[in-house]
């Protein structure tokens, strides 16, 4: 098991190294000169050149990459170009904290919700409840966040007036102040994953219910409740738990849209802002951080699956 962990971690590091290269080099090919951008369109050529030297922009590209990587690993993520040389790291960490709160709020909605809906559908297979759940989850998977988000705003903020349509929060806000503002963006971010987990749970539960070992369990004399809790759930939820862990990674992608829609000060909105301003250090830091979260959630999924599944645990 330890060896397995070490190997997974090795894979994550390699993946991150490759992503850092892709991120770095693709930001290099973006049009525009960094020094020119900092100094503005009307700067004197000498000043631009001096800044280029200072920033190391005249070095060969791999040297630039290695220097950047070295600084990044040491925690020096550079200065933001668009916000008066404010250091990138604290800005990103602050936003990451906000995104994390939103992600967790979504997570506690869709994981238990999806499992319960999926189980309900599986146990009522081919009955009305199953059909309703299956059809609506399928339609939800097809709807992007900016559509569901707008519909939610239209109903709960504009029509009913229960919840605020904008979720901009100040850094000093307390939790009771934040909570109502979290509800709508969290639901918006959760819906797609909720539908996905519901379908996954339903499929694997149905499979388990029709398996030979469930027949064995009944013929041992177990009651339907005992069969469900002792034999069905353990096997049926194995794939679901894995999907839940991977979904943390998807959530990051969904957050970019959701945060922009609700003006929520998270990592996704920061990334959007950075791209609009061509703020290279900020883009690099946020994308690499997102890649890291994605990789780690995948690793977490693998580890949970291995831990739950004895076939892998005892290899």
């Amino acid at each position: 098991m330890l060896k397995y962990l070490a190997r997974r971690l090795g894979f994550v590091l390699i993946t991150l190294l490759v992503s850092s290269m892709i991120i770095f080099f693709s930001t290099q090919v973006l049009p525009g000169d960094v020094a020119q951008m900092i100094l503005g369109r009307f700067a004197r050529p000498e000043a631009v050149e001096a800044l280029r030297v200072k920033l190391g922009l005249n070095e060969p590209i791999y040297v630039q990459y290695l220097t950047w990587l070295k600084n990044f690993v040491q925690g020096d993520w550079g200065l933001s170009l668009s916000t008066n040389n404010y250091p990138v790291a604290p800005m990103v960490w602050e936003r990451l904290k906000n995104s994390f709160i939103l992600a967790m709020a979504a997570f506690v909605i869709y994981v238990p919700g999806g499992i319960l809906l999926g189980l309900w559908a599986a146990l009522r297979r081919n009955k009305a409840a199953d059909h309703i759940i299956s059809v609506s989850s399928l339609s939800l998977i097809g709807l992007p966040e900016f559509v569901t988000g707008v519909i939610l705003i239209a109903i709960f903020s504009l029509k009913l007036g229960w919840l605020p349509p904008s979720s901009s929060i100040s850094p000093t806000a307390t939790l009771p102040e934040i909570l109502p503002k979290l509800v709508l963006p969290a639901i918006t971010a959760a819906l797609v994953s909720l539908a996905y987990i519901t379908r996954m749970t339903r499929a694997s539960t149905v499979e388990a219910l029709y398996s030979d070992y469930v027949r064995t369990a009944y013929l041992k004399g177990l009651s339907p409740r005992q069969v469900l809790f002792r034999h069905v759930l353990r096997n049926a939820l194995m794939p679901t738990v894995t999907v839940a862990a991977i979904s943390i990674g998807w959530l990051m992608g969904g957050l970019v849209v959701t945060e922009a829609l609700f003006s929520y000060p998270g990592l996704g909105r920061l990334l959007l802002f950075a791209i609009q301003r061509r703020d290279l250090p900020l883009i690099q830091a946020t994308t690499l951080l997102m890649a890291a979260i994605f990789c780690l959630s995948n690793m977490l999924a693998d580890i949970i699956y291995a831990w739950l599944n004895p076939k892998i645990r005892f290899q």
């Binding site: 190997r7 090795g10 894979f11 398996s211 030979d212 070992y213 027949r215 064995t216 369990a217 009944y218 013929l219 041992k220 004399g221 177990l222 009651s223 339907p224 005992q226 002792r230 034999h231 353990r234 096997n235 194995m238 739950l308 599944n309 004895p310 076939k311 005892f314």
Partner: protein, 685 residues
């Protein structure tokens, strides 16, 4: 003498509500099973035997229901019992053993807990006590190292061991009735023998009644006191095993017994009785007697009036009103046709020191070096003369399929060569000219998977004619009709699709396709094992007929020793990628034996209930093909290990007086002194 009845089924009918209407899967079946008695329910696939067995313990699919009749269990009428009431009986008084133990156990719970659970829920034992009880019972079913096995997960054990665990689970609460649904069908023959021994032993130690369901008559003969023969949802005959086998009183039973190849030297290469046609669909049952469309003695009356199961003697019942004629019919049926092969000396196909080694699988970050090669085949040398049949027999994983594929050139052998008419063949199929490809044809195991479902039978048979002959379109059509006729298929099948055919008919098409190119050698890869006994028999006859007519050589691969013995002139016994014994069929099955051949023979259940079996049983499992073996491959399981040379040196070839090649360290004289001949019952006649 009369023991109490444990299970009484009276006039039971079970039907399923399906989308295409009501299916009457079981109709008017009555049977009794008494304490300490084992009742065998025999039937081919689709006969409704599992539905009957599970239905009689009130376990039915959601769309199934008991439409008529009564079930008594230990004096209680359980016909109308629901889930809650049955849960108190299941696992407590009724134990169940399943066909596929690796699916019947929960993959994510330790085996010990799965077994212990039965004692926990029914007897209120706490976890610790139930676990101890599980381990004690595991020891009772001769489980080696029960504590260790209990701590494992199902995927860590072999099929035979898992089946012992399932049996333990069924026996834990000392049930009154043990229902066993094809418990050995998924196992290899040597493992099956061990499990059957265990069942026989348990029969004496526990006083449970056993309800044993199987398609295998030979297994029933060995295990059961009483048998019932089921066909298309009805019981056609029942009675004590011995009398049923010796004196069947229903044409279906008679034909079924006549369809099994007998393990007797003078029965070899003879036609089998077989049964024409196929089991009817439960949706379209024939009028009158259900068996009448396939019966060799049916008349108008049989097709009009449905007979009932009548008592014809004490404890004997038959559903054939003409049961008195059966004795005469049996004698008639015993007159069979013989197909001796012309034993020529020139080899049509020869395989010389063929080996196939695979490199171990290595991932991107895993180093493959240092791991042993997977040796699927090791210097295999066999040959088959023109017009003769070479049978290759061995348990799963012995390399018989790899050998076949190396001969076809589908996989390239690592060493050695294949010669056809003494000409070496290119190792790769793509390098062989068409004239050679034409000479070697193949028949596959699963006819439904090897025929293109979207191609008519004519298209399928036309292909080899197009590729290998220069016949014109009209001639091809004529030839196809001829071929269809030669495999006894009506010409109306010309434009049918494979999906409209039964398994046996599809395999006839598979055989016809192989014969279309008029090859010299036909490779048959388990051609019978997917089919029912009655259908197998007709195909065996067909293979005999075609060989006499066209004189091809057969390479017949099977795990079924009786079938191989029946149709082969020469036999090679394989173990772990090696040939351990090779010679004439009559010599292989006579001493001196290779110890593995001896164990195989001793493991086969004999369809003769009077036969006394020799008790050679193999312990452990076949080693992995990547194990590095210096000496004899069979050493780790050999019951007759001779000395240190078995581990250190490869076994020498010993040639018996009858040209039987045995690869063993034990000298011939010692090998000849076997425990007992597996044929003693045959020679006693």
């Amino acid at each position: 003498m009369t023991r109490p009845k444990i299970l009484e089924v009276e006039n039971l009918s079970i039907s399923y509500q399906t989308e295409s209407g009501l299916v009457k899967a079981v109709r008017r079946v009555s049977l009794d099973i008494r304490r300490q008695e084992s009742f065998g329910l025999v039937g081919e696939s689709g006969s409704g035997k599992s539905t009957l067995a599970l239905g009689s313990i009130r376990y039915l699919a959601a769309n199934g229901r008991i439409s008529d009749g009564r079930i008594n269990f230990m004096g209680e009428d359980i016909t109308d019992y629901g889930l809650a009431k049955m849960s108190k009986l299941w696992g407590r008084h009724i134990g169940m053993v399943y066909q596929n133990p690796s699916l019947a156990l929960n993959p994510s719970i330790r085996i010990g807990w799965q077994i212990a659970e039965t004692a926990q829920i029914h007897r209120g034992l706490d976890k610790k006590a139930a676990w101890n009880e599980a381990i004690m019972t595991m020891a009772k079913v001769s489980m080696p190292e029960p504590e260790y096995v209990a701590s494992l997960y199902p995927h860590q054990l072999s099929g035979g061991m898992l089946q012992r665990c399932v049996i333990t689970m069924a026996l834990l609460n000392n049930p009154s009735l043990l229902v066993m649904d094809e418990p050995t069908t998924a196992l290899d023959v040597t493992t099956q023998a061990v499990v059957l021994d265990l069942v026989s032993k348990l029969k004496q130690e526990y006083d449970s009644a056993i309800f044993y369901i199987t398609h295998d008559l030979a297994v029933v003969a060995q295990i059961c006191d009483t048998i019932g023969v089921m066909y298309a949802g009805e019981l056609l005959e029942s009675g004590p095993t011995k009398t049923i086998f010796r004196d069947p009183r229903h044409p279906y039973t008679l034909s079924l017994i006549g369809s099994i190849p007998k393990f007797e030297e003078d029965h070899r290469k003879r036609s089998l009785s077989g049964i024409k046609g196929m089991i009817p669909s439960l949706r379209e049952l024939p009028n009158g007697c259900v068996f009448s469309p396939r019966c060799f003695m049916a008349d108008e009356e049989c097709r009009r009036t449905a007979p009932t199961l009548e008592e014809i003697a004490p404890d004997r019942r038959s559903a054939c009103p003409r049961w008195r004629e059966m004795e005469e019919r049996r004698k008639e049926m015993e007159k069979t046709k013989s197909y001796p092969a012309p034993m020529e000396q020139t080899a049509a196909l020869a395989v010389d020191s063929l080996a196939k080694h695979y490199a171990p699988i290595s991932g991107a970050l895993r180093r493959g070096a240092g791991k042993a090669l997977i040796k699927a085949l090791n210097s295999v040398s066999v040959s088959v003369p023109k017009g003769c049949t070479l049978g290759i027999v061995g348990e799963s994983g012995c390399g018989k399929t790899t050998l076949l594929r190396s001969i076809t050139g589908l996989i390239e052998p690592t060493e050695g060569e294949v010669r056809l008419d003494d000409e070496p063949l290119a190792p790769k199929v793509t390098k062989r000219p068409r004239s050679i490809l034409k000479k070697i044809q193949m028949v596959f195991q699963n006819p439904d998977a090897s025929l293109n479902p979207n191609q008519t039978i004519a298209k399928c048979l036309e292909r080899p004619l197009k590729i290998f002959t220069d016949l014109g379109k009209a001639d091809r059509k004529k030839k196809i009709l001829e071929i269809l006729d030669s495999v006894n298929l009506p010409s109306t099948y010309y434009s049918r699709l494979p999906g409209e055919l039964s398994g046996g008919e599809m395999q006839r098409v598979g055989i016809a396709r192989a014969f279309a190119a008029e090859p010299d050698v036909i490779l048959l890869d388990e051609p019978l094992s997917a089919l029912d006994v009655s259908v197998q028999a007709a195909l065996v006859n067909l293979l005999f007929e075609l060989q006499v007519a066209n004189n091809p050589s057969y390479l017949f691969i099977s795990h079924d020793l009786a079938a191989v013995h029946h149709i082969s002139d020469l036999i090679a016994v394989m173990y772990l990628g090696r040939v351990v014994e090779f010679g004439l069929a009559e010599a292989i099955f006579k001493p001196p034996f290779h110890p593995y051949t001896e164990a195989l023979l001793s493991a086969i259940p004999n369809p003769d209930p009077d036969a006394v079996q020799t008790g050679i049983r193999l312990e452990g499992t076949v080693p992995s093909p990547s194990t590095i073996i210096k000496g004899c491959a069979f050493r780790s399981r050999c019951p007759r290990v001779y000395g240190p040379q078995c581990a250190d040196e490869p076994p020498p070839m010993r040639m018996s007086a009858e040209d039987d090649r045995i690869f063993c360290h034990i000298p011939l004289e010692d090998l000849a002194r076997v425990q007992t001949s597996p044929f003693h019952n045959a020679s006693a006649r």
